[in-house]
């Protein structure tokens, strides 16, 4: 089963690398959209069916945590799995993110295998 993925990162280069890494990792990728911040991501979520969101934390206009809060307020996206892909490893911010329901966390730099393993686990758990 292929999954529709939304990649949210203010770095266009990083979005392309994440997309490429997901593709070569063996994860079954369906449609893939990119957004440069949380606001743009919310607009894409309104227009398309998204199975999984990969998001950075530190972004202009609306950061990753605020985007997740907005998603959880919206009945349509309360259960959509979110995975953080970020440079930050701060315990308090991660605790805050887990409290908002993120399903996992990958710190940049990353290996393709770590992305594949986490995304596969997250989607398996989602279907259970």
């Amino acid at each position: 089963m292929a999954y529709n993925v939304l990649i949210v990162d203010d770095s266009q280069t990083m979005r392309k690398v994440i997309r490429k890494t997901v593709m070569i990792s063996g994860f079954e990728l369906g449609d893939c959209w990119e957004a440069g911040d949380g606001l743009e991501a919310l607009e894409i979520m309104k227009a398309h069916w998204v199975d999984l969101i990969l998001t950075d934390l530190n972004m202009p206009r609306m950061d990753g945590l605020e985007m997740i809060r907005e998603m959880r307020r919206d009945g349509m996206h309360q259960r959509t799995p979110v995975v953080l892909i970020t440079t930050e490893g701060n315990e308090k911010r991660l605790e805050e993110a887990y409290a908002l329901g993120i399903k996992g966390y990958i710190q940049k730099p990353f290996h393709p295998e770590s992305i594949r393993d986490l995304l596969t686990r997250v989607m398996e758990e989602y279907h259970v």
Binding site: S11, T13, N58, G89, E91, K108, P109
Partner: protein, 166 residues
């Protein structure tokens, strides 16, 4: 304090370059340079060291420590890294993409550095920015003060500068 930061910055930078760019950094031992230019709190290291076009990525941080972190690398090296990073031919890589990658590089080093040094303190990072400068400009830049760590890779020199606010 500076030695802890220096050691962590060397480890983090090396890991990021290796994992994301397949570039292997060799820290330059300041004791092997005469006069010493890097490796401790250098007030005014002598130049010039960089003659080619340089790309600078910079990010600010606040937390237990506050300041800025800058990454400097030769344009040719950044072009080659961006080509591998994006999986495109060198001619297709735009300067805007290379600058974006260099800004993200400073973001990765800074985020990893402070989560390595102190994972319990929240550090707020600014949005990274990147610019192109000449080697001469770099030698005149205020970044000549601070914790300066030089590396060699593929016969080229690159630099990480951490400036802490007092």
């Amino acid at each position: 304090m500076y030695e802890d930061i220096r050691q962590a910055a060397i480890a983090v930078s090396s890991r990021i370059f290796e994992t994301m760019f397949f570039v292997f950094l060799e820290p330059i031992d300041p004791s092997q340079e005469d006069p010493p230019r890097t490796g401790s709190f250098v007030k005014d290291p002598p130049g010039p060291l960089f003659s080619a076009s340089i790309l600078r990525g910079e990010i600010g941080f606040t937390g237990r420590y506050g300041g800025t972190l800058g990454v400097y690398l030769p344009l040719e090296m950044a072009q080659s890294m961006a080509k591998d990073f994006l999986g495109v031919d060198q001619g297709e890589v735009l300067l805007s993409q290379i600058l974006d990658m260099v800004g993200e590089l400073s973001n990765m080093i800074c985020g990893n550095l402070f989560s390595t040094l102190d994972s319990k303190t929240i550090y707020h990072l600014t949005l990274p920015k990147a610019s192109k400068m000449s080697g001469q400009e770099m030698d005149r830049a205020p970044e000549r003060t601070g914790l300066v760590i030089d590396f060699s890779a593929d016969d080229q020199r690159l630099r990480v500068v951490i400036q802490l606010e007092s």
